[in-house]
Each structure stands twice: as C-alpha cells, then as structure tokens.
C-alpha cells in the first residue's frame, strides 16, 4: 500500500496500575494522564483534532461511562470524538485510519477501566457467545486454563516455561513505576504455589488492575515538528478468530499470526511489547508472531505486572513507541488482545525512520 501520509506516536502516558484506584468514573484518573501525554507530545488540548477511547460499561457497572469520561477532555466547544467497546488499542487503529484518511492531523487515544469494581472473571464471561456459552458463566481464568492445558499437552510449552515468563516479567517490571507486581523471584518458588485453575497458578494470571493510558498520534510533518524522534507506525493490522471456543485452534492463535503478517512484523525487531494476560499466552504469541530469541520481550513487565482492562493493550503500543522515541530500539512491535483466549489480536509495527 502506498501512503501519502505517515502516522507516528509522539506521546504516551499511563496511570500507575493499582489493585483499587478509588473513583468508579475514570474521569479523575484520566485528567493527569491526558496532561502528561499532551505535555510529552508538546501539544495543547485544543490542538487535538480527534479523540478516541476504549472502555466498557460492564466493567464498573456504569452506563455511558465513556460519555462521562469526555468530561476529562473538556468537550466545549464541541470536539470530534469516537469510542470503541474494546481495548483502546483498537481506538488507536481508528485514529490511525482517521489520520491516514486526512481527516485529522493529530489524535489523542485513551483507554480506562476500573476492573476492581466488579468480579472481573465473571464480568468477562459476558463477552462470550450469549446463547450457548455465557449462560454457563465460565470465568476468564478457567477459559485461559483450557488453552494453557492444550498447549502443554501438545508439547508447545511447560509449566516451568510459564513460570519463567512470570519471573522475567517481574524482574523487568522493577524498573517500571506504573507496575503493580514486580520483584525478584524464582521459578521454583512460583511453581510451589497451588493451582488457581489447573494448570494455571496465581503467577500465570495478570493481576486485577485499575488504570488508564493515553497515546498521542500525529501525521507526517506535524509529527516531525512535535518530536525529534517520533515512533512511526510502519504497519498496523488486526484480525479476529471465530467466537466459538471449539471452532478454532486455541494453541495456535491464527488471528495473531494473520495480523502480524498483515502489519509487516517480519524483519529485524529489537523489542516486542505483547499483551499477554496469562504467561502461556506470551509464549503462544511469540510463536504466532514469529519472534526470534534476539527480540527483547516486554521490557515494561507487560500485562502480567499490571493489566488495566481497556488500556493494557494500548499501553503495549505506548511502551513499544517509548522504546523507539527514546532511542533504545530502532524497530519495535506493540501487540494488543481482546476477547477470550486471545480471540482478537492487533499488531502495530513502530520504527525510528520514515
């Protein structure tokens, strides 16, 4: 695809991931996050052409939470705004397309969620098929466990491999001030814990986190004005697998593989920020995206160390972009997932030069 315009990430900020962040509305959490993201991009609030968010009313049991969140923008005089009922990584895709289409030069993308307000594993049952699956209330952890067992019994990974993902994530998260879980540990220690949902233990599951994140995008020359080293989006694509859990190969993640191919992941990569709420999912995603051993995975600690619903995927793109903007990486990938057991996947390739 030839493009007249290029789009880059020029700013990113997130709130600390907390087990309980007070207010249900999200507005109060978003205000400082917007201020920091805009300051980092060197952009004034009124200069944002397009605002796009990801959230879900079921999370906090609060109708029209995304409309309330618009208060944090300051929506008067009227603004151009949109919302996806998904992780804000998909809002990022919408903003990316909006800018490519020439309808905006700048965009602020944000996600927020108070996962702690309800019983998250039960709330997530409502994203399942509403006729034959959701009425049984299968929780998100149990569904992930069915996927993990398939991968284990097929010889793709082991419980020790999974524990080592948790160990590496926690060590890396020690340098991330937004992380909720961090610190040195060993696989032996983690494997001594009881199962939460066999074969998953507590360390295999992301914590329940409240939080928010915001990403600033800009087009071509505007991005160069705002930032010496923008993180250019070289490719972004998302794909979806069938809704029925028994209709797809849970251990292969075909939609992640297809999204990676469409986004152009192939080639030398320095860093990948993978949105894997469970340890085994990081291993499945590495294989689906074709990431070699030289790729640094989740230097932020990843979702295993803080998983604010509806912004954790956007935060992966933001963390990958930060690697590029800071010069620590020349080419990086940010990945987001949504739906049960990695049903939907989005891949964003970021580069230093355009």
């Amino acid at each position: 695809m030839s493009r007249q315009r290029a789009v880059a990430v020029v700013g990113f900020a997130q709130s600390p991931c907390r087990p309980e962040a007070g207010t249900t509305s999200g507005v109060e959490t978003l205000v400082p996050v917007f201020q920091r993201a805009l300051a980092e991009a060197g952009l004034a609030r009124r200069e944002v052409d397009f605002w796009c968010s990801g959230s879900c009313d079921y999370l906090a049991g609060r109708a029209f939470s995304f409309v309330n969140a618009v208060d944090a923008i300051g929506a008067y005089p009227p603004i151009c705004e949109s919302h996806v009922e998904m992780d804000a990584a998909w809002a990022c895709y919408e903003a990316y397309v909006k800018i490519l289409a020439g309808e905006a030069d700048t965009a602020l993308v944000y996600g927020f969620g108070k996962s702690s307000a309800g019983e998250l594993p039960r709330v997530l049952a409502l994203q399942l098929d509403p006729y034959v699956t959701a009425p049984l209330w299968p929780d998100s952890v149990s569904i992930a466990a069915l996927q993990a067992r398939l991968a284990c019994e097929r010889g793709i990974l082991t419980e020790r491999d999974m524990a080592e993902v948790a160990v590496r994530s926690r060590v890396d998260a020690a340098a991330n001030p937004c992380a909720q879980v961090a610190g040195a540990t060993t696989a032996e220690t983690l494997l001594a814990a009881p199962y939460v949902a066999d074969p998953l233990r507590a360390h295999d599951c992301a914590p329940v986190s409240d939080g928010a994140a915001a990403l600033v995008l800009a087009a071509s020359d505007r991005a160069r004005e705002l930032r010496d080293r923008p993180a250019w989006i070289a490719g972004m694509a998302h794909r979806i697998d069938p809704q029925g859990l028994g209709e797809r190969d849970l251990a292969a993640v075909p939609s992640a593989r297809a999204a990676a191919e469409a986004a152009g992941v192939a080639g030398d990569l320095d860093v990948a920020e993978l949105h894997a709420p469970f340890t085994h999912q990081e291993l499945l995603l590495r294989a689906a995206l074709g990431l070699g051993d030289s790729v640094r995975i989740n230097p932020s600690g990843g979702a295993l160390c803080g998983n604010p619903m509806f912004s954790a995927g956007l935060a992966r793109i933001g963390a990958a972009a930060e690697q590029v903007m800071s010069g620590r990486a020349g080419r990086a990938v940010g990945h987001a997932t949504s739906g049960p057991a990695l049903q939907q996947n989005l891949v964003c390739v970021l580069e230093a030069e355009q």
Partner: protein
Amino acid sequence: MDIASAPPLSAPMVIGFDYTRSLGPVLGSFMTGLRERRVLGSRTSDGRIHVPPLEYDPVTHAPVTDLVEVLTTGTVISWTWTHRPLEGQPLAHPFGWALIRLDGADTTLLHAVDAGEPGRMRTGMRVRARWAANPVGHIRDIECFEPAETSPSQASARVAAPAPDAPVTTIVTPILLRYRHTASDQESRYLRALAEGRLLGGRCPACRKVYLPPRVCPADGVPTDEEVVVTDRGTVTTFCVVNVPFAGQRLDPPYVVAQVLLDGADIPLSHLILGCPAGQVRMGMRVAAVWRERAQWSHTPENIAHFAPTGEPDAPCESYADQL
C-alpha cells in the same frame, strides 16, 4: 472526621436483568432439541459437524440448514478445575470445566464436568450429559456432564420424549453482577454535605462556572475544586411530563421531571416538581426544595423529596437561556 479529609464514599451495587433473546432457525432448533434431551449439530459444506451449531457456513457464508443429531456422550479435549465455583456457574461444588467433543461432532462444546475431584479429570476422558429434571429449551437443560464410567444419575436417564410442543423461539438469559461503586473525592464531599442538608457545588478555576454536583469541568477538563454552597431554590429550565407507566415507578403518572437551575449554580439538576398539577409547570417557574424529615437524611439526592412552586414571579428567559 470533617468532610474534606474523609475517604471517598463507596457502596455495594447489584445489577440484574433478564435478556430475552430471539433464536432464529438454527439456534431455535438446537434449543428445541435440548428440550427433548437431544443435541443437534450443524453440518457445513466441508462435511464438518459443529456443536454448538453454526448459523452460517464459515467457508461459503451461506445460511446453515443441515442439522444432524449427535450423541450425548463425548470426549474431553481440554480441562481445568474450579475449586471455588462462582455465582451462576453450573455446579455449586468444585467441578471441572472442559472442552467436550460429543460423539459425532467435529468441534467442542464448553461445559462443566461433575467429576468430584481434580484427580478424576484427564484429557481423553469419556463423559455424558446429565439432563436437568425439567428441560425448557436452554443450554442449561444440560445440567453438566459426568464421567461416563459411572452409572447414569437419575436425571440423565433417557426418558420418553415429551409430547410435541411449539418450537423454542426465544430464551431468557439472566444477568446478575455485583459491584462496589466508589464516588470521586468531589462527589463524596457533595454527598456528605447532602447528608447534612447542604448543597455543595464546585467552581471551575478556568471558566468560573459552578457545577452541582462538583465534577471535572466538561468545558475545561479540570477539577472544580473550589467549594461553593448553593441555595435550595431555583428556576425550572425545562421539563417533561411523565405519562408512561414503567417497572419500578414510584409515582402515579402524570408527574413532572424537570431541570432545576439552583440559584448560584451554572448547571441544572434533575428532580421532581410536585405541589401543583403537572399541567401548570412551566419554563421559568420558581421552585424550592421540599426536604424530607431530617431523620431520613442519608448520602442521597432523595433527601430532597421534590421541588415545589414558590409562588414568586417567573424568572426571565435570559436568566436560564444558556442552559437550553
């Protein structure tokens, strides 16, 4: 503890509602089959049999019309164990979740397995459906699965098919969710003041407007931290007459719900106007709060029972035109 330093207010909240869902030809037949203790799958153009059934062929995208019966026994393809079942799940005691391929099907169905203990679960284990005593045409007509090596429990014994009945065309799926709602610091101060019979607004540091309740200023995106006491009388900016009865209604229609711009505030609040016939309420009408007995006050706008006309002359339209 004074209002300014007290922690945010929070309270439990339960949301419950029943979705009534239309089924269409494929799921309707599937649910009708369940009511007869039979399981139907859909056959797609590639010859595969899907259970649960698909409504559209993923290869040809054509509607699926070929439904075939499969057995109610099957094989576990993957499983996990639940030590503490959650509300709404098929069994109240510890059980296994499993992806089950029914005999005759090519895909798997997610359901519960009543195995007693995790040590009895394994991939490849044989299971059979245990039926609910009174099937109605719902996925929960399959109560759960149980290991096939055990003798069938009473409910799963095959019974004579009931007399033909009208096909199942809809199902009801109840949703029940429990939350803890937490107010913001500003909302908490507002609600605590209400419990003392005061109305507390917040002034935006940028545009100087006073919001009631205090909130992040929707025009400027900043918290309205400066507190302002607002009076409990004001002007009706706009209103509607409720003529429609609905579930949970507390007043007999017709009655009036209005936007009331309190003196000293720059945003109206929504409340009832009583104390005069509904037909007499008008834009610009001056009204005052009618508080409940002090003993009934809590952290709620219901401390004000309603607003009633004061008898003052109507406010000029210019005084509330910005709110319309």
